[in-house]
């Protein structure tokens, strides 16, 4: 830890303010709380919202896990971990179960989170209505007036055009029967994990200067019409070529040697944990 730097980089005044915004976010699930986002030593758009949440929450006892696109070893995840550790000396982990704070970009881990854990999601565009209405002043009004026909209309138009909804990642959700919220660009596969979550989920958008939250056991429903139900990415018939997992989000890869399409767990620590377990079993069996 760099002795010249304050614990967890931010000065205590800034941390308090970010925590106040987080508390407000928890009190109003799905509502985007504006906050005076600080410039961080990593670039805007690279996770500064998530980083500010992590730094304002973290204490010496915490164990931190950072993932980017499901991977602990991804360069940006490593860079963020390095920064947090150099200013706090907290313990780092790749094991989802061992972490108390998990900062993530674009994924929710496969292993169900617990009430002892906080998931911090990095958010590039917090406003689910932005494609429909470009002005912040207007979208604020739409949220206040509970007027969400615009976002539904976009789904309706997709069905008219394509015969089905064609949303990608960041499929909008309805939180606590009140606010439409951008879940950050997690795949649709992860949307159901937001519902009735054991863990507190905090979302931070540094550049757009918003914090919002899904507190534990909050109702979160992915927007969908009655007769066109919400669907997640389809990996039916495929499994991880390393650990054999099926009910997980898979990365699609091309095997350089055979030229074949293969699939592999996106959540790398989950995959490794499974591989280790399988190995243990094999050893145990061999011992018998």
């Amino acid at each position: 830890m760099n002795p010249n730097q304050h614990f967890a980089f931010l000065d205590e005044g800034s941390k308090k303010e970010i925590r106040r915004a987080s508390l407000k976010a928890v009190a109003i699930p799905g509502y985007q709380v504006p906050f005076a986002s600080r410039e961080m030593p990593i670039a805007r758009g690279w996770g500064t919202g998530g980083l500010q949440l992590t730094l304002s929450l973290i204490g010496k006892e915490d164990v931190l896990k950072v993932i980017d696109q499901g991977s602990d070893e991804s360069v940006n995840a490593v860079s963020i971990k390095k920064l947090v550790q150099s200013t706090t000396d907290v313990e780092l982990t790749e094991q989802t179960e061992a972490a108390t704070i998990i900062q993530s970009r674009h994924r929710i881990p496969e292993i169900p989170l617990t009430k002892e854990q906080i998931l911090v999601l990095q958010v590039p565009m917090p406003e689910p209505l932005r494609h429909y209405e470009k002005k912040e002043q207007e979208t604020k009004k739409l949220h206040a007036e509970n007027e969400y026909s615009g976002v539904w209309l976009m789904l309706f138009e997709q069905i008219m055009k394509f015969g089905k909804t064609a949303t990608q990642a960041d499929h909008p959700v309805f939180v606590n029967d009140r606010y439409v919220m951008a879940p950050s660009p997690i795949p649709r596969f992860d949307n159901p994990k937001l519902h009735d979550s054991e863990a507190l989920i905090l979302l931070g958008a540094g550049r757009e200067k918003k914090i919002y939250a899904v507190p534990p056991h909050t109702d979160v429903a992915s927007l969908a019409f009655e007769d066109y139900p919400f669907t997640v990415e389809d990996f039916s018939g495929e499994c991880c070529h390393l650990c054999g997992a099926t009910d997980v989000f898979l990365d699609e890869l091309i095997d350089e040697e055979s030229g074949q399409t293969i699939f592999q767990c996106n959540d790398t620590s989950y995959c490794i944990a499974r591989l280790n377990q399988q190995e243990r079993k094999e050893v145990e069996l061999a011992d018998v």
Partner: protein, 371 residues
Amino acid sequence: MGYVAVKGGTNAIEASIERIKYERIKDMEVVSVETILSSMRLLVDQVMSEASLYSPYLAALAIKQAEGSMEEAVFLLRAHRSTLPRLYYSRTVDPYEMFVERRISASFKDIPGGQLLGATHDYTHRLLDFQLLSETKQDLENWLAQYSAEKLPRATRNEITHYPKVVEYLRAEGLFETYEADNTSPDDVTKYSLQFPASRSERLQILTRGQTGAITSLGYASLRGYGQVHPTVGEVRVGRLPIYVSLENSEMTDPEDDYYLGEIKVTEVESFVPVTKKKNTNEHEIEFEIGYGVCYGQNETKAIAMSILDQCLEHPEESFATHDEEFVLLHVDSVESTGFISHLKLPHYVTFQSKLDSVRRVKQGGTENES
């Protein structure tokens, strides 16, 4: 396998950080912060202005560390700024008290106090000076000796004269409205996030810390026809302003008790913009309004462009993008725009997989309900 491209992060990062250091020092030339400070004045000014932190020394350090990249240097200084506690607000600075180094008006041939050209590139011919290739310290000494003997003004601080504002002359004639001094504290955009509609103090703060290129090009766009402001530069002044801090919780308001912190160099611009106004008597009159621009250091283009945009944003009724405060204020910040553009370099394979899935399902066709 190709998959390792974004993995093995720790080692890759270490190697990359070493590599960028290598690129900076491989030719074995050490540029000192002092050299940058004294030879790259305008670059230092620009970095301070966009970083909104007035510290020439740290700006020079940032420039060295960033290998001269504006966006990197600004970023470094901004990030450093985040770690500093903000303890005081200074007393309101009155530009009338400026130690003026340069001051011109485009509106009048002569102005009270006179035009003062000062240091400017405006009338230099932009020809590369190849003599600079062989410039020596001795050359500098000789030139300076002669210059200070013959031309350097002998005025000392004791006989500082303050220059009146050009606008005062016109105000006396009733062409400008006289406003009460508005002593409400400005909204601090670094402490509270910007909400719309923004106050003028918020708009001016965002503009003054805006990226020079962004401010210039939006101001230019407005001037060329994508805006409804036709300014005349009433006054450009460059000079140093003293900064004082008042004692907190002090009963006494005697300015004599304030702490003098030092001085900052700024460029200040007042543009005169004619506007049609409806008077109480229901008659239309043409009056002048002021577009205000100010920024750290000497950066006249930015300050003038800012004065145009300030006036644009005072008139949101015009339907041009340059008059739309969300459009202007949310897109001129260097750290925000460069950060978000550069984040596209981050891996996006999860979101792309999601996109692929969506496109494939649509391609499979059929309008049957998904169930």
